[in-house]
Each structure stands twice: as C-alpha cells, then as structure tokens.
Amino acid sequence: MSTITTTLYQRRWLIFTVVAIIGFTLFTGEFKEAQTTAILASTLRQSTPLLLGALCGMLGERSGVINIGIEGQMLMSAFTGFMVAAETQNLLLGVLAGIATGMLMGASLAGLSVSLQGDQIIAGTVLNIAALGVTSFFFQQGYTLPGKTPMIDLWFLSDIPVLGRVFFSNRPITYLSLLLVPTVWYALFRTTWGLRTRAVGEHPSAAETVGISVAKMRYLNLILGGAIAGLAGAYLSLEAVGSFERNMTNGKGFVALAVMIFGRWNPVGAWGAALLFGYTNAIQTQFQFRGWFTDHPQFVGMIPFVVTIIVLAGVVGRARPPAAIGQPYSRE
C-alpha cells in the first residue's frame, strides 16, 4: 500500500466521523445557510469550555499529575470572575480575577499532591467540593454585569458565508481558546519546557537525574493549567451566560477530562474532540427546533452520550497516558 492509502486507512474512523458530521449538518440545515451556521456556531460555543478544561488537564497530566479538580477550578473562577466584574463593572478585571483564581486553585492542587504527596484524585475532589460549597454559600442574587464580553468581527473574514460567521465573529475568550490550541501544541513539542514537562510526566526519576526539578515543573504546569481553567470559568459566567448560577459548570470539567483522553493528551486532538462533543450538544437544539422526536425527547437527550460511546469505542483505540501519572514523586 502506498503511504497515502495507508494513512487514509489508519485515519478511517476520523474521516468517517468528519464526513458523517458534515453530511448530517447539511441534512439538518437542508442547505439553508442560517441553520447550518447556527448549528456550527453553537458547536463552537459548546466546545470552548471543554477545550479549555482539556488543555488545563493536559498540562497537569503531561507533567504526571491527574487533575480531577478542573470542574472546581472552573466553577470557582466563574464565581470570582463574576463577582469582581459585577463589583467593579469592569469585565477585563473579572476575567483576570477568574484567571488568578484558577492559578490559585492550581497551586493548591500542587501543594496537596506534590508537596504533601497526597493522593491526586482526592486532592482534586477536595477542590471540587470546596468550589461547590464556597460558591453556593457566598453567592447572592442581585448582582448584575455591565453586559457580556463584546462580539468582535474579524474584518472581512467574518463575511465569508457560514465559516466566516462561525469562526470570525466571536467573543474574545473564544478567540483566545482557538489561539491556545497551536500555542500549547508548540510549547509541548517544540520548547525546552515542553520536553521537560513530558519527561517529568513519563519518568520523573530520569528527569531528576539530569537535573530537572520534578516538583518545580509540576507546580509550574498546574498553575499554568489553572490559568486556563480560570479562563474557562470566566468564559462561562462573563462570555457565555452573562451571570453566575449555582453549579453552572454542571459536569463540564469532567467532560473536559474525557475530551483530553479522547484527544490523546494532544491539544489538536483535544480540539477535535471538544468540537465533536460540542456538536452533539448543538444538534439536540436543532432537533427540538425542527420538532423531530418531540414525543420522545429523552432519545434526543441521549444523542451526545450515544455518539460519545460509539466514537470512543471506534476512534480512540489504544490511548496511552503519560506513564508516571497519578504517582507522587519523591527522591529516595
């Protein structure tokens, strides 16, 4: 077989999935530009927090720390972002507060799992429970924002039919998240920091013997990841919804972990995975809009999960996580 056909064969599931999605989108939209655009735009909206959460998890896991507390980091950041923005009536300050909160949560995860060598799953669960408790306790109705983050049209690009409206007519955090995909990829695979991160996540004692501080790398990565999770939180309260609600993350932090695994700990893969998850959510709305299966809405609600199972079984194959994941490291 030539290399082209081999590559095609190896990627057959990916190609199948992409073709099916495009086909289905055109079918539901029946070539009507407005509806196709609506589905795709909604896909991107739904995928943004998943993508950011997955990138946060990826930075942690690539350095060997499982972060199951993404949910908590996002929720807490959504909360502080909202409160600061509402108090100061300044959205930028709100976003920065969200990022700072995420970093702080990342640092506390590092403290529990790296310095104190605690169980990483439990440390992450602590973050989740704390975030839910704190935000529910302190949240009061009656705060309002000066609006949502502004919509930015990117010059003439936004005039391109369908794709222009989908990709080039968005709000700032969405653009930022799209920019983060190549940035994180480049950082992981082309920089000193990335090489060291991967070494620490695969074989910490090997990294230590060449003079790399495992603890320092893990702290750094969890705090950087926290910043990205903070951005996801700010996205939810300041860009997507425009207010705070109790438990507004609603499991997105956990789906983000699935997205990360599905994307094989690779930013580009994670973006694809996030889009797929986003898409399955987007077509639900489309079904309701068209009045299909209205007698049995539970089946429509099942679509994202059914697609997830099918795709995970077919596409992912053998995913291999970083080898040192979940193990506290100590020099003997």
Partner: protein, 510 residues
C-alpha cells in the same frame, strides 16, 4: 600544592552514610585517577551503590569529604554532579521510553534557538557526531522504547558524554547485556579511558574485573576491605575478599546419571509478541537427572520457548511432552500441577507479586489447595508455617515472612522463587536466567540447587545468556539460533569459542 597527574579525578575521604540504624558506608575512602578504569566490587548490599550515589549527589554523606580534581565539593543534587562533569549510567536506565534518543540525551541541557525554543536539528547532529566519535552509533531519531537494551545503554553513556563527563560511573552495566554486547562495552570503556575519562565500574562479575579494570576496590558490609591491582590476584582471590570466605566459583558436580526422557519437544513453533516466528520447528529432549543448557544470544527464541513450555505462550505447531502428557494447549496452572517448576527470566514481573508478603509469594503456586485453603478460605496458620519452614531451609534473608517481597535483595528474591518452585515435587525444572543480577554468594547457592535437583533425578532445562554458567553447569548443551537448536552435544565436546561462534552465526564455519 603540587598538582600534576597524581591529582585524582575524584576522591572520597572517610565517607560515612547511615540510613536509620543501618550504616551503609563506614569510613570509606576511595580514589580514581584520570584515565583509569576502576572496578568497585562487592556483593549486593555491600554499599557500592550508596557510595556512587553520594559521588553523584543523590545522597548526602553524613561525614567525610569529596574532592573532584583536587577541589573539595559539596553536592546536594545530581545537578551539582553534572555541573562538575560527573556522569552516571544507572542500573535501571534513567531514560524516558517514549522520547527519542536525542531528546533523552539533551534533556536538561537542551540546545535552543532562542529563549526556550528547542533546536532539534542541531541536537540530532550533535548526537550523531558524538556517537561516531566514541563508537557508540545510535539512530538519533529512534524512540528509546523500540531499542534493544544494549542500545539503550549506549544512549545512557552518550548522555553522560554529551555533558562532557570527566568521571563516568557505571552501576552494574553488564547485568543486562549479552556476551557480545558486554565485549563491545568493555572496548568502549577502554577507549574512553584512553581519552582520559575516569571510569568507575560497579560489578560483581569477576571475569570482567580481570578483563578490563586497572584497579579494584572491594567493599563488604559498608567498608572498603581492599584495594588491589587485578594483575596481583585472581578470580578466587577477589571472590574471597568480596564474600569474606572462600567461594566455590565452579560447582563440583559428579557425572550425570541421565534416566528416561522427561521433556520431549518435537518440531515446536511459536510466535513472539510482534507475531513473528520466534521458535521455528525446535526439537529437544531433556532426561531425568541431567542439566540441559540452552546457550544463545538473547532474542533468538529462548524467551518464547520457555513461555511455550510453561503455558504462558500459545504454540502454533509441534508437541511438548512431559513424560506421556501433552503440555501444549494446557493452562499454566495445569502445567505447574503436572510437575513443571519455573524460575522465570524476569523475577519482578513474572516471578513474584512485589507488594505481597514473602509468605504469600512462597505459596503462590498452591495457595488455593489444602492445607493452605479450605473451601475457599485461606488458612493463615498453615501458610505461615510452610513459609517459615522454607525461609529457614533456603536461608532467605528477610526481616519477617510478612515483609513485602519487593523489599528483598535480588538474590533473596531468587531464593523465594526457588523455594516455592522446588518444594513441590517437580519432574522438570525450567530455569531462565536464574542468576541474572544477583550476587556471588546467591549465585553459588542457585548453582548448587540446580545441581542438587539434577542429582535428585529431576530434569533441568537451563536457559542463560551467561556462557560461563551454561558451560560449567550443563551436562548437555544446545545452541539456539533464530529459533532452532543449531547444535546439541555433550558439554565437554564444545569449546567456549565454538559455542560463541554458533551463537553469533548459527554455524562454526567462520
């Protein structure tokens, strides 16, 4: 001060290191000259590793001083040691399996274009040039986990050289190598020494010490018991210094009284993990009361053969008869119950359950049977009684029978496996690399056990990469090459050279 060639490359003076109540190094002094190959000899637990870990900055000495090139140093981490041009090749390779050769070599000292951006092309070129210069050629783009062990070790050495090591520490570097790879390594070390690198070579293999070392320091129980020039002594002398008593290097064994065939393998074929033919129509017979040794370069089907006999690998064709019973197709437990004892190649992975107690590991092949279990309930009393009996009988050095087995030394782990496998009435003993990575005292014990089993009328199939071991223990030898036995004969009919040639090329025609 007069500084000239007499300034040692590295020197430790009166170093003491304690771990809790245990004194790992007591008042140890040690010096290595530039361009010298210095063997550090001692049994497991003698304190060799502790000493070099101090020299490499992994441990901090409680007392004593370290001098590098005449300068007193404080080292608190490997980073400090690397900065002072000390390199170490660890016994368990410190390589990241999923990264490339080059990535592993430059890790921590990466060439960059600007501010943290890797310059991989430059790195590839540097690694390639380095390999050429020292005769350690490796594909710089290969992924480490795809490489054979011997090549991985080259990567480790290259990594130290990349950091411009003046002192190179090698911890048991030949434990994992085939005879050919060992010869190549020793050659490389001589070359490095000629360039002025000081080499510290930890080992317990006497032959290598005699072959390559300029000087030997012998350690026993945390102390230096002697420093000597290998030309002034012989293997027996070194062994005695190391163990503290005279050691039998070559087990005295009588003539074999071979009986009826116990294991008869006919046209056996099996695949390896990558579905390539590994055992290819192999035939052999092992009689009661003889040791049949299989010599060969690793990767010629030995592992697959052993796994096929013990039921751990499916066979494609052929038969494996234990007396009159066909073993092919049976489960490992059925085969074990038929009377096949197995000392596996990889003790940690296939021989023992590391976190479980010594006692549980000692009954691992019969914990489910009376008297160790009744109606599915484990009988702790019976298990412990049996375990205590075996620990005493086989002289397993363990804090208690309830200690996790992974805390034992390599030699004692091997004794646990031997005790378990030999205490149920076996007809056939399959021993794969039974002395790999264990100390001289334990090797003597294992060898004696194999001969004793033979004398009790058990058929012994010995697979080993140590040619000396095969030559000294076997009654008959088969040389395996590409999945077939290319020669079978009485041990005394072969010379070391002939076997070496057969192992390397499958025939004696040069």
């Amino acid at each position: 001060m007069n500084e000239n060639q007499t300034t040692p490359a590295i020197e430790a003076i009166s170093v003491t290191k304690r771990f809790g109540p245990i004194v790992a190094n007591e008042n140890v002094s040690f010096r290595v000259e530039k361009g010298q190959i210095h063997a550090l000899l001692g049994e497991n637990g003698a304190g060799k590793s502790t000493l070099v870990n101090i020299l490499f900055g992994l441990y901090h000495a409680d007392q004593g001083e370290i001098y590098i090139a005449g300068e007193k140093v404080e080292m608190n981490s490997p980073h400090d040691a690397i900065d002072r041009h000390i390199g170490m090749v660890h016994q368990h390779f410190q390589l990241v399996p999923v990264l490339s050769v080059t990535e592993n070599i430059v890790l921590g000292h990466e060439p960059t274009k600007k501010r943290g951006i890797l310059d991989l092309e430059k790195a590839y070129a540097e690694v390639e040039a380095l390999g050429k210069r020292y005769g350690l050629e490796v594909d710089p783009r290969a992924i480490v986990e795809d490489l054979p062990i011997g090549t991985q070790q080259r990567v480790e050495i290259l990594r130290s050289l990349y950091r411009k090591a003046d002192v190179l520490i090698l911890d048991e570097p030949t434990a994992v190598l085939t005879p050919q790879e060992t010869d190549h390594l020793l050659e490389v070390l001589r070359g490095l020494a000629a360039e002025g690198v000081a080499i510290i070579f930890i080992t317990h293999k006497l032959r290598e010490v005699m072959a390559v070392a300029d000087h030997v320091t012998v350690m026993r129980r945390g102390k230096v018991v002697g420093a000597i020039d290998p030309s002034e002594t012989d293997q027996a002398g070194l062994a005695e210094m190391m163990v503290g008593r005279s050691v039998v290097l070559r087990i005295a064994k009588g003539e074999a009284k071979a009986g009826a065939p116990v294991l008869t393998i006919d046209s056996l074929s099996a695949l390896d993990d990558r579905a390539q033919t590994a055992v290819d129509g192999l035939c052999l017979t092992v009689h009661a009361g003889e040791i049949f040794g299989i010599a060969g370069v690793e990767g010629n089907g030995q592992r697959e053969l052993v796994e096929a006999i013990t039921g751990l690998r499916k066979t494609i064709s052929g038969s494996i008869m234990l007396e009159d019973t066909e073993l092919a197709g049976s489960s490992p437990r059925e085969i074990s119950e038929q009377g096949v004892a197995h000392v596996p190649e990889d003790r940690e992975k296939h021989g023992l359950v590391g976190p479980h107690s010594v006692a549980d590991n000692l009954v691992l092949n019969r914990y489910f049977k009376a008297p160790f279990a009744r109606r599915g309930i484990r009988q702790t009393g019976a298990i412990n009684a049996e375990a205590q009996k075996l620990v005493d009988q086989y002289d397993v050095r363990t804090a208690s029978i309830n200690s996790p087995v992974r805390t034992l030394s390599g030699g004692n782990k091997q004794k646990v496996i031997a005790a378990r496998e030999l205490s149920q009435n076996a007809k056939l003993l399959v021993a794969a690399q039974p002395t790999r990575g264990i100390d001289v005292g334990s090797i003597e014990f294992v060898h004696q056990q194999l001969v004793d089993q033979r004398d009790d009328g058990i058929a012994v199939l010995l697979v080993s990469a140590e040619l000396d071991e095969i030559m000294s223990l076997s009654d008959r030898i088969g040389v395996i090459y590409q999945g077939r036995l290319v020669a079978i004969g009485k041990a005394e009919d072969f010379t070391r050279n002939q076997i070496g040639q057969l192992m390397a090329s499958g025939s004696t025609d040069a």
